[in-house]
Symmetry: C2
Subunit: 354 residues, 2 copies
DNA sequence: CTGAAAGCGCTTACAG
DNA sequence: CTGAAAGCGCTTACAG
């Protein structure tokens, strides 16, 4: 069968014919290149408009020898969590899909407990002659500075995992942290009786005012407030992430209070689960974040009741694809793409796709 | 920048050079066409293997004038539910992405309350000279017969929404119904006290032994059994889906029993919500299925506590893409793709992507 | 059974 | 400022 007549006609060749110019000139106009008289450009633009011309992306990339270079600037996997494996695997998946179309992806990993390593890697990116960069802007100040320098070099930035809202990025792809906290509180509401007590646990080396864990806590508390819940909410910050330290802090917190539900604001929920199991504590509900192997093991045993997940693999995949779409299709991209807030339990985890 | 040498080399041209044949002959081998001597074929195959040749899909579709035709055979939107709008919109989205690559999609809608309309539309599909068809095999027998005839005509079938497991389809894309029921029970478990009573409500014109609602009920009951829950489980089948009839059945069921949680096995949960609201009943938890506008409205008001959803838009999208991948990339496809089982509440519905 | 040539819709030097 | 021609990696008649 043949393609429809109409389609066969609307191409650079047809535009050139109508405008009485060569296809090279049409190409120049299509790409806003210099060296076309205003008059010619106008005429061609009108015809493009009239014919509702859509370029054939296949042909374009096939003919073009230009290769596009994207950098990925995210944390490496640490002893404490292999969370970042997920976004990375999404990145790799996207890369394998588009690498044959002239896209190169290079990865720069930094230590999320060490700002200096971030700075060092970000400088390498700046030197690498990239068209775009996908980054996790964990360190707000340093990331902000980096993004400014990218702007100077005309490098497009995409944020994943957490956002710097006022920064001039192509887009942000990741959770709405506040709302994940709020949702967690909603679920917790179902598990709590009127006078039950809640313990919020922040486990992180870097808990400062900017830290995104605090946004989850904020959302969590707001839910209780909005719904006039009278449950007491206690809180403990644990800055030393080693298990012994977690254990000590939890013991202290649980000794003086009868806690009915623990909300861990990040993926370290497994160490709390470990503690509860070790101590034989069974009547405490436990909710935390992220689809990690360790967490899932506890979810299966129901030591963890719910995990909140935000498709980290997809974040990596979509991050690269956002750059790809921007450069290859030149089509506009949503400034913010909030990932769904997924509720994972013993019964649906096997069907979960990151 | 130039593409890497390596890439530039591995193409039909290089294979032809190595094999001392023309690229036309290489093309014949690549597509398993006739008219190549066994010896030549063998030699070329070896070189393809050795070079780890991957065809350039862009170039292939660009050069090929072949167009691919897919049919979509799903229910139309009915007075009772606009559920099928969602898969359809996924289909349309996929179509718009791939239509410029020579793919045509044609839609055949049938009335899910009328087997004859299915048969009629399926016959139209058979006559339409399609390469593949995406269908919702609601009517098991009729669908089964249709699939057999497709096989004769060498038309590939993809199932969505519900499966016919032993049928020779390309793949199934949709929920594991049993597990959605099981998960719903798990959530219900958190909402119930020891002696609370549960009411299962099936609202459907077609409740027979094959019907997929029953698989959800089965999973639901199994959870209670597995976890030695003693809650009493009542059940009502409502075959007349008009609101008045639903109202009558519910009134009868609720008059004689104190029900604490109602599980509606499909998207008709909104009519139960409507009833509860009308009667001013506030202490009954309500769980049902599907991300429909009506349901979401009740979810916001918390008349409905949880909705279980299975990304109907994505089912449509992936269904078409499965056919596309099969024909264009000729790459193998998972026989079963179970959709995640999503738990939707008042707090996360705004981030949900179908 | 095999090959030379044209063409898919674009981009890219190069020449004027 | 503009155009003719070659080429991206493949497929498709057509000729032998």
């Amino acid at each position: 069968m043949k393609k429809t007549e109409e389609k066969a006609l609307v191409g650079v060749r047809e535009i050139a014919r109508k405008a009485n110019v060569s296809i090279a000139t049409v190409d120049r106009v299509l790409h806003n290149r210099t060296g076309v008289s205003a008059k010619t450009k106008e005429k061609i633009d009108a015809i493009i408009e009239e014919l509702n011309y859509k370029p054939n992306i296949l042909a374009r990339r096939l003919a073009s020898k230009q290769i596009l270079r994207f950098a990925v600037l995210i944390p490496s996997v640490s002893k404490e969590t292999d969370y970042w494996n997920a976004p990375l695997s999404g990145v790799l998946q996207a890369e394998s899909e588009i690498s044959s179309y002239g896209i190169q992806v290079e990865t720069f990993l930094f230590d999320q407990n060490d700002k200096k390593s971030f700075v060092k890697q970000s400088e390498a990116v700046l030197r690498g002659n990239f068209n775009g960069v996908l980054l996790a802007p964990m360190f707000i100040e340093e990331s902000s500075k980096f993004v400014d320098e990218c702007a100077l070099l005309n490098i497009q930035c995409v944020f994943i995992n957490s956002d710097i809202p006022d920064k001039n990025s192509l887009c942000y792809i990741g959770p709405s942290l506040y709302h994940s906290g709020y949702l967690t509180a909603h679920i917790s509401g179902y598990l709590l009786k009127e006078n039950d007590k809640v313990l919020i646990v922040n486990i992180s080396k870097e808990i400062d005012n900017h830290h995104h864990l605090l946004r989850k806590e904020e959302g969590f508390r707001k839910y209780f407030e909005d719904n006039h819940k009278v449950n007491e909410i206690l809180k403990v910050d644990i800055r030393d992430t080693a298990y012994d330290s977690v254990k000590k802090s939890l013991s202290a917190a649980l000794k003086d209070n009868t806690i009915n539900l623990i909300f861990v604001t990040n993926s370290r929920v497994s160490s709390v689960a470990h503690y509860l199991e070790e101590e034989g504590i069974e009547d405490v509900k436990l909710i935390g974040f992220d689809f990690l192997t360790e967490n899932i093991a506890y979810l299966k045993k129901q030591t963890i009741d719910f995990l909140i997940c935000q498709k980290p693999i997809e974040q990596g995949y979509r991050g690269i694809m956002a750059l790809y779409t921007h450069f290859v299709h030149a089509s506009p991209i949503d400034k913010v793409y909030h990932m769904p807030i997924d509720i994972i339990t013993k019964e649906n985890h096997q069907f979960y796709r990151n």
